[in-house]
Symmetry: C2
Subunit: 210 residues, 2 copies
Amino acid sequence: MSTRARSRSRRGEGGLLRQDILDAAARLLVESGDVEKVTIRAVAADVGVSPPSVYLHFPDKDTLIFDVCQQLFAALDQAIESAAAGLEDPFDRIRARGLAYARFGVEHPEHYRVLFMQKPESAPKGFGPEQLMESAAFAHLLQNAADLIATGLLEPGLEPFPVALELWAVVHGCTSLLISHPNLGLPPVEVLFGQACDHLTRGLLGPDST
Amino acid sequence: MSTRARSRSRRGEGGLLRQDILDAAARLLVESGDVEKVTIRAVAADVGVSPPSVYLHFPDKDTLIFDVCQQLFAALDQAIESAAAGLEDPFDRIRARGLAYARFGVEHPEHYRVLFMQKPESAPKGFGPEQLMESAAFAHLLQNAADLIATGLLEPGLEPFPVALELWAVVHGCTSLLISHPNLGLPPVEVLFGQACDHLTRGLLGPDST
DNA sequence: CCGATAGGTGAACATCGTTCAGCGACTTGG
DNA sequence: CCAAGTCGCTGAACGATGTTCACCTATCGG
């Protein structure tokens, strides 16, 4: 904790504190690995500022925590996309995407919890269902689902949206299971998701599958 | 809140308070629908007893909450088994099982959260990985997986344990997704899980599937 | 230099989980 | 029948939390 006192910002630069708070909270979260350790007082002390100052930039603690985690959301999308880049086959792509997603979740369990496993009420208004569905990550997943359908290999009549949700449910199930029960003797992400993904995609195939 | 004063128990009947506390906590949980509303003080007041009295029967709050939710674990198993009862085909059984599980989770979201979506540290020592794997519910799932394999219809080389985990991951994914994002426009449990289950089980089939 | 205002604080409130010394009614041994 | 013991329970407090509100004060335009 760098409890150094922070010098007051110049006029018009009050917003600088906001980023400092975000950075400190993010640092505390990754270093402690526990959301409950990221307390308003701890963050304020780390920035070198008094607790009430946090409320000049965030309406409440939940919003602060969520904003911290949401910064990882873009990184998640990038990780997924770079994993899928260069793969031609839509089936290879969806597998690589899911694996990257699951790995990301397992490597950032606290963030994943906040983003995807929290009570809906805790999510601030800025991250409702709409924002999730309109996110680049979901758009990419949707596109991949459409590509799968476009191969003509899938069972006829499937729509991209339900297929995307189905795929998401599977990868989310593997990820959250690994996060919540790490000592269960579960196989590593690659195996657990790999098998589930293979079986699910194979089950999506149509009757004329080779 | 029935803040009635509770008369002191007779000698040797101190344990009666334990059940009263459990009942009160359970009632508060279902009535408020929010774990955070189930506070030690609220439970104690509801029973008509002072807060420290709770600690005569529970080491800490997490254990109390968990014990409350664990009471539903047996009910979960019963719900699953009664759903699967009478079904001969192992594929029908696994589908009915999963659906009953998912329905149960969606209908008791707070309990499901505590049991399956919490941080592993929050779970008391009485509900470690071992207890989960040795539970009747998991045994039944494992048996069903074995039955699936015994049909000879599945892809060769599959073992019951990984298959069970895979199935659990899928149904858990659907359940927790519906719990965490109820306003996402997700299809109802029956549809979301139904499709995922059908596709997964079909993907588990071997090459000589009709 | 002056007053307005952006930037930040001190102290407090309500609430939480938890601890600890101790009270008091009831049982029991003599 | 009385004294001692102990079981069941409590009052008061500690430390920590999120949050609010009145207030201060350094800075900047005029």
